[in-house]
Amino acid sequence: MPDTIKTQVIRIIAEQAVVEPEDVRMDQTLDDLGIDSLGLVESIFAIEEAFDIQVPFNANDPSASDFDISSVAAIIGAVEGLVADQKA
């Protein structure tokens, strides 16, 4: 089965959280997963590299960024949006 955006993002998040991908739940926050601000910046870097996209994110005010990081599902949705924009 080819990798979907969802499975790739989950794999990146799981690697940061040091858990197995199947243990990552869609409703979890990064906080739930024990990912701190450095882990977040590293995850975003990994996402940019994996999908060749630019993620609009400033660590000074994560909530003001256009990129929704409120849950695993939100991050996947945001990445799907960015990948679709890139193809458009």
Binding site: S37, L38, V41, I44, F45, Q54, F57, N58, A59, N60, D61, A64
Partner: protein, 402 residues
Amino acid sequence: MKRVVITGAGTINALGKSVPATLEAMREGRCGIGPLDIRDVDRLSVRIGGQVLDYDPEDHFNRQQIVLYDRFTQFTLLAAKEAIAQSGLVFEGDLAAHAGVVLGTAGGGVTTWDDNYRAVYEEGKNRVHPFVVPKLMNNASASHLSMEYNLKGPTFTVATACSSSNHAMGQAFHMIRSGMTRAMVTGGSESMLCFGGVKAWEGLRVMSKDACRPFSLGRNGMVQGEGAGIFVFEEYDHARARGAEILAEVVGFAMTSDASDIVMPSKQGAARAIGAAMADARLNPEDVGYVNAHGTGTAANDKTECAAVADVFGHHADDLMISSTKSMHGHVIGGTGAVELLACIMALRDGVIAPTIGYEEPDPECALDVVPNEAREAKVDAVLSNAFAFGGLNAVLALRRA
């Protein structure tokens, strides 16, 4: 214990190529931050900085010097020339044998690394210039300074990221105070406004794309600067005996480690450094009129720094002025404490408090008098200069009016 005074100051930075030019810009609240003029800037997402513009090394150095002097060394030597000339000191005999150089730099010859990586990786060359190593090493600036002025005492470079020059000046202060030497040349220098230098910072996602607005609500990060600040520290009686003009007295210094996180600042670590510097200087909270803040313009630093200052100063925090000149010259990284010490000297000598420019709206988490946008006249007797580095390393200097 010996008393320690400053008898010479020199600088080059985005605000000016001398101390008078820099202080004039600080008084006027001028901004030295603008579009970066560097190679491959179009491949950067952060394209502003406090760059030293209209600068040609050939106006100051010959060809043989330029092949050995990275930009951070050039800045050091230009600032040192101004400082040592002002001090009037000539280093010879016993004075020269004990006087040395302690400088701060975080990255050393970053431009030299950048240029030569390009040559071997991008351009595929298999040979680099023979002087790449002596040009890029962190101690190159301290060594050239010692050679240029015959300074034969303790000479080394301190690298503690954004606290480097405060740590360096603290060492020089301790050496004179303990009687090891009667004079030291000290300060710091940084020049990492090149493609690789800015790209590395970009990765951390703490850089602003438009302006450095310390303490202001809606601030969105730091802006990198470049330059040098160099000072002559001298034993008080030695300076008095030769009738030297005293710019300020260095009365205290303290350093702490947060021992907690590699990038997130700690209120406790900062507060312990501020409190210990005041204790070392025998200053009470009400003695201190001005604090030159670390004030990087990041969300994390500014609120943590304000909380630390409020903790240490208690009620007096409301009567205290605290400003960040990084809003004007950018964050000079390993040289920043040295450039910012100029604002401290201006406060003590001229009674002018440099402003925090770019200030838009009060942030309830930074509820101190940050001297927004316009310089202020005020007589102050004692000041502090904060530096809090990545790695959790804090260094605070205390100065008194001469």
